[in-house]
């Protein structure tokens, strides 16, 4: 007698624990692979899950077994076509080929081990050395945020949500409509009865009157009993719905100095900076457009690949990028329709005299349009140790400090390691609670 068990509703992910253990074991290799992916991918695509390939040596499961080569061995095959006993077949020259297919079962062999990370796992590893606070990590991983909003009244709900006002007014209306005797009417009637009963020798008329009043009182009381003061029908509850945060369109400008002084390391750091801002924005806005502006002594809008990978020579005039950005905003992204964010990365060098112009441009033209402007100056680790004061720095840094002092939505930071990036955004993330008006 067989019996059936339906296990489909049992908790899934029974092997999640094993999966985590495995990822922990290969942490270092996976991290390397993730970092390579981040560098390789477009800013907007970074948070997709990823197929990761890691070298198999850290995770091989060895055991004693016979080698595939050497010695004498005999095997039986199927599908003989025209061989006869005693035939000879030349061995393939360079290994592989021929019977090589029999080898390399899973786990053996030199091949890399390939597997897919989920989005969460991928972001966990990406966030690792950015040193984000946990709360922010979690909120960045959330795809949608919602807000509780009033949405009228409902007839069911929890007692905590009862709407007293609405309930009472419903009750009143119903009592009026059904003509429920009020407490005052009852009291008046009782007083009349009382007065009549006080009469020591009532006339016949008075006796009849008293009887009538008694009947009337009884009717009233019965009506009161039948028609409740508050009926379950009257009760209303406040109703709330989870509304997605108002999403709107945003545009993110990535500005970067691409003169020769920006090396691979600087660009990688910058990319992380852009990715983080994009992740943050993608949580809040439905649609995000990315604009990449690179500059040397001259600025131009380019596509992402050119932005990160092509090299340019020339001097450095930062203000050109700001002018270009203003031009693009005017042409395509009216501030009334778009939330404008900008992230600028540079090594801090600028054509002498240009920095004041940058500050001026920002203050007078760009900042009134921008929701937020973040600037990072990428420095060497040693340099970072030497420059210990915020006030010191090159011309551009000093000029921007003036802007930052005047405006709350301008953030700037010197960065030498990935861990330094987050503080730039601290304010941006902190403004989450009051951020609704941005939407």
């Amino acid at each position: 007698m067989a019996h059936f068990v339906d296990r489909r509703l049992n908790p899934k992910d029974k092997s999640l624990g094993n999966r985590r253990r495995f990822l922990k074991r290969v942490r270092a290799q996976v991290k390397k692979a993730v970092n390579e992916t981040v560098n390789k991918r477009r800013v907007a695509d970074v948070d997709r899950g990823e197929s990761v390939s890691i070298p198999a040596d850290g995770i091989s499961e060895p055991s004693f077994h016979y080698a595939r080569e050497g010695g004498r061995r005999e095997r039986v095959f199927t599908g003989n076509k025209d061989y006869r006993a005693g035939d000879r077949i030349d061995k393939p020259r360079s290994g592989g080929g021929g019977r090589g297919r029999q080898g390399a079962a899973e786990g053996e062999g030199e091949d890399d081990f390939l597997f897919v990370l989920s989005r969460d796992e991928f972001l966990d590893i990406f966030f690792e050395d950015l040193e984000l606070p946990d709360l922010i990590k979690r909120s960045l991983k959330e795809i949608k945020t919602t807000r509780t909003q009033r949405a009228g009244f409902t007839v069911t709900g929890s007692p905590a949500n009862i709407s007293v006002k609405r309930t009472m007014s419903n009750a009143l209306g119903r009592r009026l409509a059904l003509n429920r005797p009020s407490e005052r009417e009852v009291r008046d009637l009782r007083e009349q009865i009382f007065a009549l009963e006080k009469v020591s020798r009532p006339t016949k008329k008075q006796r009849e009157e008293l009887k009538r009043l008694h009947d009337e009182l009884e009717t009233m009381l019965r009506r009161q009993r039948v028609i409740g003061y508050i009926d379950p029908l009257d009760v209303r509850y406040n109703y709330f719905v989870q509304k997605p945060e108002p999403n709107a369109k945003a545009v993110m400008f990535c500005l970067m100095d691409v003169s020769a002084s920006m090396g691979e390391r600087e660009k990688e750091l910058a990319k992380r900076f852009f990715v983080l801002l994009h992740l943050f924005l993608s949580r809040r806005y439905d649609k995000i457009e990315l604009v990449f502006i690179r500059h040397t002594h001259d600025a131009s809008e380019v596509d992402e690949d050119t932005f990160f990978y092509s090299r340019e020579t020339g001097g450095t005039v930062v203000s050109t990028a700001l002018v270009e950005m203003k031009k693009i905003v005017d042409q395509r992204y009216p501030a009334s329709e778009w939330n404008i964010y900008a992230a600028q990365a540079s090594d801090g060098e600028n054509f002498s005299g240009d920095s004041a112009r940058c500050a001026d441009l920002l203050l007078s033209q760009l900042m009134p349009l921008c929701q937020y402007f973040a600037y990072i100056e990428i420095v060497d680790e040693e340099e970072a140790r030497l420059i210990n004061s915020e006030a010191n720095g090159m011309e551009l840094w000093r000029a921007y400090r003036g802007v930052a002092a005047k405006l709350g939505n301008f953030a700037m930071k010197r960065i030498a390691r990935p861990a330094d990036i987050y503080p730039v955004f601290r304010e941006l993330f902190a403004r989450r609670s009051e951020g609704a008006e941005n939407g």
Partner: protein, 504 residues
């Protein structure tokens, strides 16, 4: 054989299934399995699971309860990727040798496929598990789920007490030696869960009470050569050396392991031992299940209980699983045990019912006897792959598969075709194929031969090369490192040729 006359009534139509249908169909299948074929099965427990759960089951070697280890996660990721990319389908079922016999069926299967899978796993495999002498001797179907749950609990407890990393290290090493942790000749005593637990506590107590001479570093006697020799022999006798079960040896004699570590090794060893019969009966087990499902589905169709559409779907899946590509086909991955097992069993039936002259010469005791059910059940109960091939592989099947054998000698620049499917080659081919399926030949032959306990505690192993085939060097060295971790002192392996003197 069923006496009860019944009007042919379809068990199901279309591809959707529900639990009533499953129940009805299983009853019909059971009737044929028990009354017609005369199978003897454990009570069935059939569990319906989703594809995700099937992936989970895959990764923990098919067992429903398994302790946690990263290697299972690795297998999960591997299977998941292949599955998501559509490179590989999932198995339709997994069946566990336990009492009651648990089979997992996927919810995505169509009704026809469910019927096929139930006939295959819940009756075919189930009968094999319950009757084959290897499973009866080496595994304990009643206790396996209890034991696994005990193992899982014990290892989780160790992780809490000693840290995940430390437990993982022991498991890594024990897994590496798992193939060398089975008794191949000696039958292990059968213990209930409680006895198991009592014995564990007793072992720990005994070990703590009596200080073993391994720990005793004081030299007792002078190193007189004759006396020392005699003492060495005596010690080896006492430790039952040589010992082929390396995990067993480590569990009992390793000088550095703590009691909980010994217990973990014991768990890994027991699980390895549980799977040992499966390795030796792959061909027969699958052949038996395929034969049973093929017979039952055909019976159902013949008696009008499933329609042509369902039967076609069954046959389509049947032939997909039972394809045997030729050796020069890119899909060739060795001989398909499903195909060969099924072909051999169908052939036994043919020999019993309508033998040719050749069959009478080859199989005088069964040819034409007519009672193929008895012959097959006898084979399922008393053979393993190697002996089954040796006994029952007929010229017809060899011809059908167009078998030939190749000799690969490392010293020669060519492969030689040694035998083909002709009159002169049949017997040699059969011997050769049987040897391939003989675990005693396919598995490594490694034994602990000596350890100088009072001296440097140098553990010496000996591996016998078969036909001059050495151990895979990279994996050998990696595994030796694991062995060294469990032993604590120097470990050495010596590879000798077959037939060399075994005196130490």
């Amino acid at each position: 054989m069923a006496k009860r006359p019944r009007k042919p009534e379809l068990l199901f139509e279309g591809s959707d299934w529900d639990f009533d249908m499953l129940q009805r169909t299983t009853e019909a299948i059971e009737e044929i399995a028990l009354q017609d074929l005369g199978l003897n099965v454990y009570t069935n427990q059939i569990e319906i699971i989703s594809s995700e759960q099937m992936l989970d089951a895959y990764s923990s070697i098919g067992m429903p309860l398994m302790y946690r280890h990263w290697s299972f996660g690795k297998h999960f990721l591997h299977h998941e990727r292949l599955y998501r990319k559509g490179m590989r389908g999932l198995a339709y079922e997994i069946v566990i040798n336990s009492n009651p016999c648990i089979s997992y069926c996927m919810e995505e299967n169509t009704m026809a496929l469910q019927a096929l899978v139930i006939a295959h796993a819940a009756f075919g495999h189930n009968h094999f598990f319950k009757n084959n002498h290897l499973f009866l001797q080496w595994t304990d179907a009643d206790g396996v789920l209890d034991y696994l749950s005990y193992a899982r609990g014990f290892i989780a407890q160790c992780e809490e007490r000693h840290g995940v990393d430390e437990v993982e290290a022991i498991l890594d090493s024990a897994h590496a030696l798992m193939p060398n942790g089975v008794f191949r000749r000696r039958r292990p005593p059968r213990l209930s869960l409680r006895e198991e637990e009592e014995r564990r506590l007793e072992r720990i107590r005994a070990e703590e009470e009596a200080v073993h001479y391994l720990w005793d570093t004081l030299p007792r006697r002078g190193a007189g050569s004759v006396a020392a020799d005699r003492e060495r022999l005596e010690r080896k006798r006492e430790m039952h050396l040589p010992e082929e079960n390396i995990l067993y040896f480590l569990e009992h004699y390793s000088p550095i392991l703590r009691p909980w570590q010994r217990e973990i090794i014991r768990i890994v060893r027991n699980i390895g031992q549980y799977f040992y019969p499966q390795k030796q009966t792959k061909l027969m087990n699958e052949g038996c299940a395929c034969f049973v499902h093929y017979y039952i589905m055909n019976e159902l169709h013949r008696s009008g209980r499933i329609n042509d559409g369902a039967m076609l779907e069954v046959l389509h899946n049947h032939s997909n699983v039972l394809t045997q590509p030729d050796f020069d086909d890119p899909r060739y991955g060795g001989i398909n045990p499903y195909a060969l097992g099924f072909a051999m069993m169908q052939d036994i039936r043919r020999i019993c019912e309508e033998p040719g002259e050749e069959d009478i010469e080859w199989f005088p005791d069964i040819a034409g006897c007519g009672d193929w059910r008895r012959v097959l059940k006898d084979a399922w109960a008393n053979y393993r792959d190697e002996s089954f091939i040796q006994q029952f592989l007929s010229p017809t099947v060899m011809r059908h598969f167009k078998m030939f054998s190749l000799v690969d000698d490392a010293s020669k620049p060519f492969y030689a075709v040694s035998h083909i499917h002709d009159e002169r080659g049949f017997r040699e081919l059969r011997d050769s194929l049987a040897r391939e399926y003989d675990v005693a030949v396919a598995d490594t032959d490694i034994q602990v031969v000596d350890v100088d306990l009072l001296g440097d505690r140098w553990l010496k192993l000996r591996s016998v090369k078969r036909n001059g085939v050495p151990l895979e060097p990279a994996d050998r060295d990696a595994t030796l490192l694991h062995l060294r971790r469990l032993w604590g002192y120097k470990v050495e392996i010596e590879e000798i040729s077959e037939g060399a003197s075994l005196a130490s």
